[in-house]
């Protein structure tokens, strides 16, 4: 994938022309943009980089599957948040929202730095592999006079097992499978999330949705908490305020100051609710085009 450069002929030349490199995911892209601007990660000029990041996603979007796109969008959303925050007047009170933004920024940069570290050692690996390819180990059959002395071979399996080993070898390796083993369902109960919201809203009376989900562990929890807000609305204990479509959503408490509020459990009864991290959702696993074993086999033909 890496290093492939292509031009998008469809774009009108006078409006927008980018040479699109293919990046290994959002972190790779972000690092690429930051280094292109010769910026330090810790002092990234967000407005420049964010726009380019969004432009890149827009230009490539249709080519991606959901899994890949969602990871880029997650980073893009964080960047936009940060960019938006910088447009606001400074020196104001540090409310929950500001703190959440600061945390989001730190987390994003920290993960970016971590990714960069692995990218750096990957370069070291590449150099070592190249140097090592110049040295050939001695791999020759044992001299006849010693070969006979080798201990008796232990196959360790019977004919049946042996046939299974063969069958495994004959089964094409890079078969596209829907990988599900990594979906471990970090369940977030809508009912539990509603209970958290009730406690919090009774205390602060009103808060933006953004602030309400700032402590969420992952996307699945944000989704569950959002569903909980809707359920609370249905119960008639909260009110919404939103200045414009897609604008900031403010949630206010309108219910009683005490007593139990229990929301319906439409979601939680489902044994496998659709409240999983979309970034981990199953999609057809992709094989890296440069690394399919089938490609390599031609390299050692006799």
């Amino acid at each position: 994938m890496a290093g492939v450069t292509e031009k998008r002929a469809k774009e009108p030349a006078d409006v927008f022309q980018v040479r699109l490199e293919v990046f290994e995911g959002p972190f790779d892209l972000l690092l690429g943009l930051i280094s292109k601007r010769k910026l330090d990660i810790t002092e990234v000029s967000l407005h420049q980089v964010t726009d380019e990041f969004i432009a890149y996603i827009r230009a490539r979007g249709p080519e991606w599957d959901l899994d890949q796109t969602s990871r880029f969008l997650l980073v893009a959303a964080t960047l936009l948040d940060l960019k938006a925050a910088r447009l606001l007047p400074k020196g104001e009170v540090e409310d929950e929202e500001d703190l959440a933004l600061l945390e989001a920024r730190d987390l994003l940069f920290a993960r970016l730095l971590q990714y960069r570290a692995y990218k750096e050692v990957a370069k070291v690996f590449s150099g070592r592999l190249a140097a090592e390819a110049l040295r050939f180990p001695r791999l020759v059959p044992m001299e006849a006079r010693f070969a006979g002395l080798l201990p008796v071979v232990l196959l360790g399996i019977g004919p049946e097992e042996f046939a299974k080993v063969a069958a495994r070898a004959f089964t094409p390796r890079p078969k596209p499978t829907v990988s599900v083993e990594h979906i471990y369902q970090p369940l977030a109960s809508v009912r539990d999330q509603a209970a958290i919201l009730v406690d919090r809203l009774r205390l602060v009376r009103s808060a933006t949705f953004r602030a309400l989900v700032a402590d969420c562990e992952g996307t699945y929890e944000v989704v569950a908490r959002f569903l909980a807000v809707l359920e609370l609305f249905r119960e008639g204990v909260v009110a919404f305020e939103q200045a414009e479509a897609l604008g900031e959503l403010t949630v206010s408490w309108t219910g009683a100051d005490d007593g139990d509020v229990v929301v319906a459990d439409d979601y939680d009864d489902d044994p496998r609710p659709a409240v999983g991290d979309p970034a981990l959702a199953a999609g057809p696993a992709r094989d890296d085009p440069g690394g399919i074993p089938g490609n390599t086999s031609s390299n050692h033909d006799e």
């Binding site: 994938m1 890496a2 290093g3 290994e24 995911g25 959002p26 972190f27 790779d28 890949q68 990871r71 980073v75 987390l107 920290a110 993960r111 730095l113 971590q114 990714y115 960069r116 570290a117 692995y118 050692v121 990957a122 370069k123 690996f125 590449s126 070592r128 592999l129 140097a131 090592e132 390819a133 110049l134 040295r135 050939f136 180990p137 001695r138 020759v140 044992m142 010693f146 390796r173 890079p174 990988s179 083993e181 990594h182 471990y184 562990e217 991290d277 999609g283 696993a285 992709r286 094989d287 890296d288 440069g290 690394g291 399919i292 074993p293 490609n295 390599t296 390299n299 050692h300 006799e302």
Partner: protein, 193 residues
């Protein structure tokens, strides 16, 4: 060489000297042999064997031999000298090894430093799905399965000794430090998602 044989001849049974014996044995192996294994067969202290191996290796280099004795993947083995690569390649059919892609190198790096590690964890660090790349690395023998995570049941992966061979490393401790590339407090960040 001869000198060493002369010196040791006084207090040991007649037979080839240590260095000669090491050269002979390493001539018939097709995988790295640990110094301790050689020490057991030759009935010599391990330290003495290691010293002799290092001296042989240094001698080959100084005198410009076409072969080299190196410690890789926990064992010693004869290799050709890198300067001879263009000539040797014409004789070694399987010399050409397909280059790894950037995706494969990054994934390999994460597995090397985080092993045993799940595919989901690797994906979280790289920011992209790494399942296909992981399968490729496994098919190439560079990584292998290493049980499953007790909590999530996810399959865990680790690097193989073939990985060490391909990188020319004695063991995993020889991997370059990751810390200089990392700021503080980044460890474990991917858990916070």
């Amino acid at each position: 060489m001869l000198q060493e044989d002369e010196q040791t001849r006084h207090d040991e049974p007649p037979g080839p000297g240590l260095r000669t014996a090491l050269e002979a044995i390493l001539m018939v192996v097709d995988e790295p042999v640990a110094a301790i294994t050689l020490a057991q067969v030759l009935e010599r202290p391990r330290d003495q064997v290691i010293t002799a191996l290092r001296e042989l290796s240094a001698e080959y280099t100084v005198t410009g031999r076409g072969f080299d004795l190196r410690e890789v993947a926990g064992g010693w083995r004869f290799y050709t000298r890198d300067t001879c690569a263009p000539l040797v390649e014409r004789f070694v059919r399987d010399g050409q090894q397909a280059r790894l892609t950037q995706a494969a190198l990054e994934t390999l790096a994460v597995v090397a430093y985080r092993q045993p590690v799940s595919r989901a964890r690797v994906a979280a660090i790289r920011g992209v799905n790494s399942d296909g790349v992981m399968r490729t690395l496994a098919a190439r023998g560079l990584v292998e399965e290493a049980g499953s995570d007790p909590d999530s049941q996810a399959v865990l992966y680790r690097t193989t000794s073939y990985f060490l061979e391909r990188l020319g490393l004695r063991d995993l401790d020889e991997l370059p430090e990751l810390a200089p590339f990392l700021p503080d407090d980044v460890e474990g960040l991917e858990d916070q998602r």
